[in-house]
Amino acid sequence: MLERYIHCLLKEIKLRSTQWKDYQFSTIYLGGGTPSLLEPFQIEQILKAIFHNYVLTTDTEISMEANPATVNLESLRGFREAGINRISLGVQSFQDNELKILGRIHRVSEIKDTLGALAKSGIKNINLDLIYGIPGQTWKDWLFNLRMAVKYHPQHISAYLLQLDPSVPLARRIISGEIPAENEDLQYAMYYSTIDYLSGQGYQHYEISNFALTGYECHHNLIYWQAHEYLGLGVGAVSYQNGQRIINKANLHDYLTRLESDGICDTKILETMNEREKMLDALILGLRMTTGIKPSELEVRFGIDFIQEYYAIIKKLEQDGLLIIEPDRIRISRRGYFLSNQVFSRFI
């Protein structure tokens, strides 16, 4: 099956390149699922196909998501040789009981082994994903996880609040009362402690949930937040081009058969946006970054005088202490990060 999939993916890479031949790509990101389950030679096949069919910058950031215990020193070296220069590791927690609640198969000992291998792998740009707000997790538990993460000197840390879709088993256990419901005040304390602690350790808080040593912000994600265009390849992948967000067949069987028998990659339009909608996208994504947005840039890109048209809303948000207005820059306040939906929803 895996081989079949890669075969189709390679086909898609070639097929869709015609639409993107005028673009120069500065990042590649292998993620969603666990790409680290692939063999290094398979990653190499994929990347080679991309290099061959698309125009790339010289210093392309090429990231791969990996889960602990799915990689070892040998495979990591293989990935590096294939072209991977950044690894995002789904650590989530440094405590076994928390990993168990999250339904993660790996254990803390395996995380430590993987981090050890990473240090020797020659890959010099590492992100660790961590989750807070896990049922039963105390403020101290969370700070312990953060301290553990920092001990390994990653260049980048993503700290995510646990947010569950009501359909997942863990959410159902919370709804049924088996596991205590979230505590908004505790989550608030955890979030702001994260910002304070990581800043003290030299990490810049550059997006609501993301922290990096200077120069190590994830370029790939910055492209999303700056509302630039991107191409998504593979089953269920989303692309953004010419104001349209489109999605590949999300059903694996359909994806494979269409490519195999018809040589066609079916996509579906998720949304088509006009200039104003595109601007609002750029706004609500841009405000996720601590640097915020530049109204002059929005005007150049979308032809809309943002300050003038949204003056009342912006002023109100400033009064509420959620927005900070500076010369040609608007950004969310410290208080506003954890209430950012309150900001975004006013503009929609």
Partner: protein
């Protein structure tokens, strides 16, 4: 021709199968092709089908070939079975010569049914007893027959056992209608007198009236006169409902049908009015209906202040279908401009609100319902107050009186204790108790109407496992020790949240109310203090802490579209909130003033 007309109604308690029987009658007489059939056909509103109850009657004309070989015209005028709508029942009954009394074979007669049967007997209607659902395992038709004979004096041998669901006995019912219900009497050559028993507004034809011709006849082109107002109109269309609108040349004495006369003003077709011919008017109108007076009031406000005119328009149109609805403009400091509306009961109120929202695309906010209080002031004058925010200052009040009802509750004797306990809790005083059969009793209590309105019925159902049924009639005013309970948000009184409570229950209620509000007011950008006060005295306090989290932790390429939808949904949710000062309150909060006890 008149000899072969039968006008009849169906009296039944909710769930005793009235609509199902009506469906069967439609099918049996071929009024509907199989493909046109759907359940509860005569319940026109979606609301009725959803709730499985009949709110609004729709007349229907059936043609039935009886065993004697003759074709009869049967006009069925369906009736609602809820206490709030007994008014509508009386309208339907007045247009009939007979009624089917449908009783559930396992439930027996309910209090409500009894009241409606007495109403039919008062109008000298022929009553045909029908026991439905004889196919169900719990059916005890013999016991129910006994009960009908004991309580209503209906000959047990003439009662027809049926299963409307399975179609058993339906033909017997049709034959009994033909054989036992007298044909209408009324001279078609006399002056025209036609009773308007219902009307509704049609966007194309104007006001449509459902009528029963008592004497004389009418045809298209006639100039008709409304006897109460003297207004005249030219008939543009007359017809029958079989069950779809079907135009006819004329309608004669005894017949039932509809008419349209390009009446644009909703007040032009008053239900209960008599229509006559302008050229040859009748000397006297038919006896109209007893004017019904609303007993429960609440404020209805558009969530968007700009929709006030739209709401006025909608109320005006709805009023045409629903003579019992009263409304007048009022304003609230908290809610802006709206209407004080009067209803027959809580179900009526709920239905009107839902119809306004669905049929007129409004988003409304309802304040807690109130009865009309009668207050004697120290200066010797008297005022009637149906809005707590108009309650006089305590030092000006000499005495407060509130409406009391005589409630009749029918219940299996196992639940006598439970019912009496509930009535005592609701400030009731015992009147008497009567055994209908060895197993069933009727208990009578005097109770404050306000207690009945709020959650009495829910309490009754839950404490008697659904076996009890309730009917009540208003007796008049009695003195009560009542005071006004105010709610303050961040120190500001919110008039729309005030309520009138019994003094002895005021502390408990104040505490329960602030607790409830704390749960339903979502966290805001700032802390919200909720206080309950009597006069200037704060008796309870809670607070809603400031919101601290409203964030999407992750937002990347693949799911931006989905995340935006979440934000839009959140925005929609906000639109359904009422902004009072800086506080956003869910619109249901205003109703919560009444629900606090049923939540416990």
């Amino acid at each position: 021709m008149q000899n072969r007309i039968r006008n009849f109604s169906i009296i039944a308690h909710i769930d005793h199968g009235k609509s199902t029987l009506a469906d069967r009658l439609l099918q049996e007489t071929g009024a509907l092709a199989e493909r046109e059939m759907r359940e509860q056909f005569l319940d026109k509103m979606d609301l009725e089908r959803e709730k499985g109850i009949t709110i609004k009657l729709q007349p229907v004309r059936l043609e039935y070939i009886a065993r004697d070989g003759e074709t009869y015209i049967l006009n069925l005028i369906d009736t609602p079975g809820h206490v709030d709508f007994s008014y509508e029942v009386s309208r339907s009954l007045a247009a009939c010569e007979g009624a089917l009394l449908v009783v559930d074979a396992s439930q027996g007669i309910e209090a409500q049914t009894l009241a409606n049967v007495y109403m039919a007997m008062d109008l000298n209607l022929e009553i045909i007893g029908v026991i439905n659902k004889i196919d169900l395992p719990g059916a005890e038709p013999e016991i129910v027959k006994q009960e009908m004979e004991n309580v209503l004096g209906i000959d047990r041998d003439e009662i027809i056992p049926i299963s409307a669901k399975l179609g058993i006995g339906v033909e017997d019912v049709l034959e009994a209608i033909v054989a036992r219900i007298p044909p209408p009497r009324g001279d078609e050559n006399a002056e025209l007198k036609a009773l308007i028993f219902d009307s509704y507004f049609d966007a194309y034809k104007g006001a449509i009236s459902y009528i029963r011709v008592d004497s004389g006849k009418l045809k298209k082109g006639d100039i008709i006169r409304m006897m109460s107002t003297g207004k005249e109109f030219e008939l543009t269309e007359i017809g029958v409902l079989n069950p779809f609108m079907n135009q006819v040349e004329s309608l004669k004495a005894g017949e039932v049908g509809y008419l349209a006369a390009a009446m644009k003003n909703v007040a032009d077709t008053k239900v209960g009015d008599t229509i006559t011919n302008a050229g040859r008017p009748a000397p006297r109108a038919l006896e109209g209906y007893k004017e019904v007076k609303p007993v429960v009031f609440c404020g209805l406000y558009p969530l968007e202040n700009s929709e006030f005119e739209k709401l006025r328009d909608a109320l005006e149109k709805l009023k045409l279908n629903d003579a019992s609805l009263l409304y007048e403009p009022e304003s609230s400091d908290a809610l802006g401009f709206g209407f004080r509306c009067g209803f027959l009961g809580l179900l009526h109120m709920e239905i009107v609100r839902e119809r306004l929202e669905r049929e007129y695309d409004l988003t409304l906010l309802a304040t807690a319902p109130s009865v009309i209080y009668r207050i004697l002031l120290t200066d010797g004058s008297e005022v009637f107050v149906q809005n707590p925010s108009h309650w006089p200052d305590a030092q000006r009040i000499e005495m407060v009186m509130e409406p009391f009802v005589k409630a009749s509750i029918m219940v299996p004797n196992d639940y006598i204790g439970a019912v009496m306990e509930l009535c005592q809790e609701k400030r009731g005083s015992f009147v008497n108790m009567e055994y209908l059969t060895p197993q069933r009793v009727m208990i009578s209590y005097n109770l404050p109407l306000a207690e009945i309105l709020f959650d009495f019925f829910d309490g009754l159902k839950s404490r008697t496992k659904g076996y009890a049924s309730l009917d009540y009639e208003i007796k008049g005013y009695e003195a009560s020790d009542l005071i006004k309970l105010d709610i303050l948000l961040n120190g500001e009184p919110v008039d729309a949240l005030s309520s009138i409570v019994h003094k002895e229950k005021s502390y408990q209620r104040g505490r329960a109310l602030v607790e409830k509000l704390r749960k339903i007011i979502p966290r805001q950008m700032y802390e919200v203090a909720i206080q309950a006060s009597i006069g200037n005295r704060v008796i309870a306090r809670e607070s809603v802490k400031a919101m601290r989290k409203d964030v999407l932790a992750k937002c990347y390429g693949g799911d931006i579209t989905r995340k935006k939808k979440l934000l839009e949904k959140q925005k929609e949710g906000k639109k359904r909130m009422k902004q009072i000062g800086r506080i956003e309150i869910p619109r249901d909060a205003f109703m919560s003033v009444m629900d606090i006890e049923s939540d416990k």
